[in-house]
């Protein structure tokens, strides 16, 4: 999977508050699948209120069908609230775990880049390092590109989570569908 955001304007971030119940994820995913829309990334976790979970869905779709799918999502009985986050007006974070080739000869080079990006080395082997990096998805993309040269052995990303930006947030850019 290329982590590069291809056509960023087609990527939309939906934050969906759902009841924390069996089968809810399948209902949400089914609405996208039915229309042939690809879910680019997905993060799910319980909220501070255990009755609810929050899904952060990044979906690869034009705006018009997105409006329709958002309305359809809202029709699901277990969906409580949907917010579309404008990427420019929200705080997005993602976590990455990466094992990269780093033999004795190139190890310091890798460590230097990890430091530049504010990552951490969490595991060390003879030929490789495992790195964790949390940050803006864009930074993770950049880091991933740079590491390619060394040889990525394995890579996992969590998918992004997002919250609206505080002060500068203009009401028009948060669309609550109800």
């Amino acid at each position: 999977m290329s982590a590069l955001v291809g056509s960023a304007n087609r990527h939309h971030t939906l934050v969906v508050l759902v009841e924390n119940k069996a089968g809810v994820l399948a209902r949400v995913a089914g609405l996208f699948a039915r229309r042939g829309f690809n879910i680019y990334s997905l993060a799910v976790a319980p909220t501070d209120d255990e009755r609810f979970s929050r899904l952060t869905v990044v979906v690869d779709v034009e705006s018009a069908p997105l409006e329709q799918i958002t309305k359809q999502l809202f029709k699901l009985i277990n969906v409580v609230k949907i917010t579309e986050l404008d990427q420019a007006e929200s705080v997005e974070r993602e976590l990455m775990l990466m094992t990269v080739r780093a033999d004795a000869g190139r190890r310091s080079e890798v460590i230097e880049l990890v430091n530049v990006f504010g990552g951490k080395i969490v595991d060390v082997g003879h030929e490789a390092l495992t790195i964790t990096l949390a940050g803006k998805p864009r930074n993770l993309d950049d880091f991933e590109e740079l590491m390619r040269a060394f040889g990525i052995v394995e890579l996992q990303r969590t998918g992004r989570v997002a919250l609206p930006q505080l002060d500068r947030r203009a009401p028009a850019q948060i669309r609550k569908v109800s």
Binding site: G30, V79, V80, V177
Partner: protein
């Protein structure tokens, strides 16, 4: 009070006021069938679970109350998928209860296991797998609430056998519903309603485009008020026939692919469409880009997802049709004391279209009493020989379109058909369900020979349960609607559409199922036979009409074309192109 899950289920259904359910038992649902013996709820034993589903739909269409179907797991659950999808498409309130293998066996490919909630997820408004008997009353209460409120639809509850067998403590009927994600908005936005009233007052060529939502919201009376106070003509879609009386001078009848010329063309030429509980279905709009090009749109629907789905409205109003129309009536009255512009030119134009392009077919003249039997003629005779509150249930095909065109629907809830899904085999079980719900009414099913062969076995159910429905088979020996398309669009290359007029022998078959049965081959036998059928009141009756195979449904807007390309009749000289 200690109850088994099964007892709790039946008690919950009683608490919901269920008077009848349609079903067929089997292994996984067996525990639920035992308490039925002691319950006042009537159970109607069907011959195929699809029948149970369509009966529940027919019951719901006729009464407005949710239909209930009860079936077992696996093949029974899959058999009911078609009615669920049908109810989903046509917004029919229905609760289906399916048995499931014991919860410990779920996921092991146990005997008669299928992923019922998975399979039905996209054809239900909601479904739920119950894993704890204690949850049964709450989930049943929620199921009925969801099925009947907002945009109605089917809800499925899947009950594993061990959950039905487990004991639970029955405290009290859940007093309140707690569904944080489900709060349908019924009251229209006052500012939008005012906007709508303004658009109406400015409009010179308005048409009310009434859909099935009028019936679901029980808004027929409100619609009549709106139409009469504004003088705006009304088209009633296939799902809304009867929502506005056909005999009313403002009624233009059915629009769409087989709509009449005036209904189709008035929408095309309108400067304002007031869409009430209608959803701009492709069978109504034709090519969307060419649909009602000059019209502004007011769109009222309880389902926000309908607004802007096909055509972006100028005034979108989310709300219950009845409430919104009632408010709209007030808003119209408040604006300039309800003054409406002079629309006499528009009405004159409409009257001219009605005069120039009425529905037409070759009516038999008295001297050709044994000529070919025209299906339209049969329907006209049937219409004129039945009370005006007679309920008509239809199959899917040419006969459905003729029924909608030639019947006169003067009351809401007298027309029951499968519009969205177009399910062949719908009419016989739907008519049975309707008759169970409205035993006081005469109920006729109009069916095609093809459709009839899909669910006819439910006439056994009707005989056994003494449900005296009446069935008119328009036997044209073909899958007629498909034949029509092959004739018109595939150079008369008929591929796999011939059925035969006398295989099966419909009279013998019907008699074998306990019905009184007649066959009609000539126009001069039609009336007398209908009269005979109308007298039968203690069992189902079937008339097989041998109709003209070559008859086609007109007008027609060929698929993919604009409604401006409506073809009014079969002869090339009569084709109208604008």
């Amino acid at each position: 009070m200690r109850l088994t899950g099964a007892q709790a289920l039946i008690k919950s259904l009683e608490m919901e006021g269920v008077e009848v359910m349609f079903g067929l038992p089997g292994g996984a649902i067996l525990p639920a069938y035992d308490p039925i013996i002691d319950s006042p709820i009537r159970h109607i034993l069907v011959r195929h679970e699809q029948g149970a589903g369509h009966m529940a739909e027919g019951y719901a269409h006729a009464t407005g109350r949710p239909g209930v179907a009860l079936v077992t797991s696996g093949p029974a659950a899959t058999n009911i998928v078609t009615p669920l999808c049908d109810a989903y498409m046509d917004s029919v309130p229905m609760v289906a209860i399916t048995g499931q293998v014991p919860s410990t066996a779920i996921g092991t490919d146990a005997f008669q296991e299928c992923d019922t909630v998975g399979i039905t997820r996209s054809v239900t408004k909601h479904n739920e797998l119950v894993m704890d008997a204690q949850d049964i009353p709450r989930i049943i209460r929620e199921a009925f609430h969801i099925a009947t409120t907002g945009r109605p639809g089917p809800v499925l509850v899947d009950l594993p056998k061990d959950v039905l067998q487990a004991t639970m403590e029955w405290h009290e009927w859940p007093p309140a519903i707690d569904l944080p994600g489900y709060k349908p908005n019924t009251k229209g936005h006052p500012r939008m309603i005012k906007e709508a009233a303004k658009l109406i007052a400015e409009s010179r060529r308005p048409v009310i485009y009434a859909g099935g939502g009028i019936l679901k919201a029980r808004a027929a009376e409100a619609l009549r008020q709106l139409a009469e106070m504004t003088g705006i003509p009304v088209v009633t879609t296939l799902m809304a026939r009867g929502a506005f009386p056909d005999r009313h001078e403002l009624c233009l009848g059915m629009p769409g692919m087989h709509g009449n010329y005036t209904a189709v063309t008035s929408m095309q030429k309108a400067d304002l469409l007031i869409a009430l509980g209608s959803r701009f279905d492709d069978r109504v709009t034709g090519k969307v880009g060419g649909f009602a090009p000059e019209a502004k749109i007011i769109h009222v629907d309880i389902d926000p997802a309908e607004l802007g789905k096909v055509r972006r409205p100028d005034v979108p109003i989310v709300g219950d049709c009845r409430q919104v129309i009632e408010e709209l009536v007030k808003a119209v009255a408040a604006l300039d004391e309800g003054a409406q512009p002079d629309r006499s030119a528009w009405m004159a134009q409409i009257r001219q279209w009605q005069k120039d392009f009425p529905l037409q077919y070759d009516r038999p003249s008295p001297d050709q009493a044994d000529g070919p039997l025209k299906p339209q003629y049969v329907l006209e005779c049937l219409r004129d020989s039945t009370p005006d509150d007679c309920i008509l249930a239809s199959g899917v095909g040419q006969h459905q379109m003729w029924a909608s065109q030639y019947w006169q629907f003067d009351h809401p809830y007298t027309w029951i058909n499968s519009g969205g899904l177009g399910t062949m085999g719908f009419s016989v079980p739907a008519a049975i369900g309707a008759k169970v719900g409205r035993p006081d009414r005469m109920v006729w099913a109009v069916d095609g020979d093809g459709c009839f062969q899909m669910t006819a076995q439910e006439l056994v159910t009707a005989s056994a349960e003494r449900i005296p429905i009446k069935v008119a088979i328009l036997n044209n020996a073909y899958l007629g609607m498909v034949r029509q398309w092959q004739e018109m669009f595939y150079d008369e290359r008929y591929s796999e559409v011939y059925l035969s007029p006398d295989l099966p022998d419909y009279v013998k078959w019907s008699e074998a199922m306990g019905c009184v049965a007649f066959r009609v081959e000539h126009p001069d036998e039609v009336q007398a036979t209908i009269d005979k059928a109308n007298e039968v009141d203690d069992r189902p009756v079937v008339i097989e009409f041998r109709t003209d195979s070559s008859e086609k449904v007109f007008p027609m807007v060929p698929a993919g074309l604009s409604n401006d390309d409506i073809v009014v009749g079969p002869t090339p000289g009569r084709e109208v192109r604008q």
